[in-house]
Assembly symmetry: C3
Homo-oligomer: 118 residues x 3
Amino acid sequence: MSSSPIQRIGDSVRWADVVIHAGVARWVEVAGDRTQDVRSQVSQVLAQIDDTLPQISSSREHLLQILIYLSDLNDIHILNELWDAWVPRGHAPVRACVQAGMGHDCLVEMIITAAVSQ
Amino acid sequence: MSSSPIQRIGDSVRWADVVIHAGVARWVEVAGDRTQDVRSQVSQVLAQIDDTLPQISSSREHLLQILIYLSDLNDIHILNELWDAWVPRGHAPVRACVQAGMGHDCLVEMIITAAVSQ
Amino acid sequence: MSSSPIQRIGDSVRWADVVIHAGVARWVEVAGDRTQDVRSQVSQVLAQIDDTLPQISSSREHLLQILIYLSDLNDIHILNELWDAWVPRGHAPVRACVQAGMGHDCLVEMIITAAVSQ
């Protein structure tokens, strides 16, 4: 028996920045600077995804699913405005967005699944 | 390097209705008519899953995981009643169900992962 | 057309204990004894994961992603203390943790994705 190799990126003890297995990458993003407002935090998270994608032989066109937590669902209009400008036409991932409690100052968190080249 | 092909269903700018990759389909369902009560919304969501499955060469017996958000966890008894009658014996998926904040009038949301024929 | 075989563990009508497909296992854990406090419940859930892993030809080093729900995010320090001692160095999974409403007495729930040998 053998399993597909697992690639882990990041050096945190607590979690991997990205885990890649069988052509699928999974990772979680929160804004690096959480002193900023929700518009900035959403922009940061989307930019961080953009930073990660080329490192894992993926791209915005290879996103499969993004699950989004907002600390205040009233912010969804800001999320949608930035999201709609960011997601590539014809290549949108599946998306769910709900309100959940997050750590202090964390206004948005995204759980990303993307296809990668093998 | 190559990645498995990605099939996307739906024509929304914001999200795909279904994304299929490497034999796995991922999608999200909320009730089409959210003016109805939770019993109707759960029934609608399960029926919408039934509508999607044959379009992607899948079936209720191929469900892998369903993550459920309820706007009021007191509704879980209604969910369970309808769920138990719907899920095929011996082929139940993994399931988690928590309470989370959703958009106005949205009482239930399901995130579905299913195996598809390739 | 053919799909990868699906292996289901467990005999509940409502959900599978574990579903394995295409080298990936998915399952959900809540503490078996939910009369206990959060420290006990987190310990139980991690021990239950340890019990499941060898049954599915997997190990702590093969964890891909764990999504965690806490009923009270103030408990995250207890979670982190137990988690950090449990997760194998250099093999941490991706992790997200948010506060969500769960059934009575349920203080923590984890949704696990792991690679398995095929």
